[in-house]
Amino acid sequence: MNRNRLSFKIIVRVLLFCFILGGSIFTIYYLFARKTIERESRENAIHLAESAVYKIEEIINPAEMIPNNLAWIMETNTLSRDSIYAFLKQLVRNNESVFAGAIAFEPHMFSEEEYAFAPYAYRSGEEIRSRDLWSPAYNYFIMDWYQIPALLKKPYWSEPYYDEGGGGVLMTTYSAPFYRNINNSRVLAGIITIDISLEWLTEIVNSVKIFDTGYAFLISGNGVYVTHPNASHIMNQTIFTYAKEIDEPKIREIGRDMISGRSKFSNVDLKEIGKVWIYHTKIPSSKWSLGVVYPHREMYAGLRNLNIMIFMLSTVALVLLTIATIRIINRQIGPLSKFARAARSIAGGDFDTELSAVDENHEMKELHDSFRFMQEELTKYIADLKETTSAKEKIESELRIARGIQTDMIPHIFPPFPNLPEIGLYASLESAMEVGGDLYDFFPIDDDHLCFAIGDVSGKGVPASLFMAVTITLIRSMSDKNRSCAQIVESVNKTLTINNESNMFVTLFVGILNLRTGELQYCNAGHNPPVLLNRNQEPRMFSNTKAIPVGIFEVFDYRDETVVLDKSDQIFLYTDGVTEAEDADKNLFGEAALIKSLSENRDKSSKELTDRVKQSVKEFVNGHTQSDDITMMCITYWGKNENKIK
């Protein structure tokens, strides 16, 4: 799929969004689930530990009751040697958990004559036997089980031990002191002990099952392992030696907390089973402490399995979503490609291109309809355009023809009068883009008189050119040797003014030069004043006229004026296209520049002079588009008998 395609982009964005959304949901779910599992595991750990402790207490508490009750009996009664033995034997027999029991008397406490007496009943196979513990070799007064409770004056649980005599089972001894009132004072009379097998304890603790590798363990008040799934630890290791062995200071901390009787959760990394939680709590009656070990891996195993399942399901869902999205998007935006193809085909000129139909009524349908609309409008527009273009072409060709006719109406063969040596004449009309209204004309009236005219119709375009054609025709037809310049202008004015609703006007300069005398009669109807050039003088302009252009008022008193030319004098006539030629900054060429250019070229022929001025104007505008016709005419008067054309 093309990466730049809209469908690709949509799919990528949708999937990315789904991915992020799914990821976020999953993360939140995962954290929540983990927390829940953690909380439940904690509760479970506490519960497990508490119930184990409860079970232990259930056995320990009655065991504690025995010496306590016995102490009471011993304090209140004086029993005979035999009855004590019988009593002890009976006690061991009746209490399954009790392996042995003993009543060790203080020196001379049982009888004056006897130094020490410690009747002892114990199990030996199925039998219950009894004997006196005292022998010179076994001075029980210095034994822990005797000395500690005697000194502390309170019951004492011994550290667990393997009893060699008792078949190598793990044992512990509970010792409680008992007293007698002698001379009204309470005196220690001895220590009552019972030995309890710890086999049952191991059973209880080992029955705590936590997943596959989790377990519970019990340590004594000194930190010795009393129970542990690894039997080699029992009685051989303390939690501290174990901590040292695996080099894990945290275990030592846990050990310290355990023997000081605290309940606590800890996180620790165990070599054998990895990261675990350890919860420990004390056994209230003894200084022992129970720990439960929760392996992380197994604790979260269910969650991990669930995660794998979710991940697989998500992957499948994502794949399905991708396929579905691609299909949906392709179906929905498929028409776009077709539209694009159609647009290219339309752009190529095939306006009848069929658009693929869109059935569903949504944006695509809207696009389809707008597209169809555009197609129709375009077809219509092109048709219109063809029509207008052909119409325009027609007009343009007509305009071209008009301009041709207009150009043809003015004389453009130079020199115009090879047989008139008295004058040199040159004229030029450069049209702007649009058809303009400039005009010039010259023609002999008779052998001695040359009539010439220059004019500028207001405005531009076809109306101006029509007006110009009428004007030039009128000038020709109105000029004869019986009319003065003013009369010619008046006649032209009168004719043009009639029905001139558009108020168009022509600035017009008409002159009649007497070739013999050099007398120039002229009438200026609002035209730019011509320039008179004399070799020996600076160029000077004719004075401004008071007469208005023709075509404005039907009756206007146009006047003739006269000037006499010397031989080789020149008259330069022009339209405002020259003085108002603009450069790019809209500066006008102006009269001063015209005079300057004329002054610099006053010894030149009519043609040369005209060309030079044209050149000056061209340099001034510097490529800026010409906006008005530029018309110039120059007449050099040589006079009679001067056989020269200049």
Binding site: T507, A547, I548, S627
Partner: protein, 110 residues
Amino acid sequence: MKITIDRTDEGFLVVLNGRVDTTNYNAFENSIAHLYNEKGAAIYLDCSGLDYISSSGLRIFLTLQKKVKVQGGMLKIFAMQPQIKEIFDISGFSSIFSIYPDYETAKHAG
């Protein structure tokens, strides 16, 4: 080109700014055409801001003058810049328009 037309106590004050040439004389004519039909109106044309006028523009001045006269009104032009005055002088239009140096003079002239 910019034109503003205000009705004043004296009649209308038309202020013409910029250039009037072949590219915009139509717009010029359209914006003042409604004055053609004002009966007996005195129209004051302020040319102080007028920088250039072509013959097409002159034609509209002429038309305005004619129309106003037909309706019994008058057109007074004032404050022309020298180059505009020159165009009027060259074409002889100075003789057919009433031209004044400023508004005050134009108002008080008969």
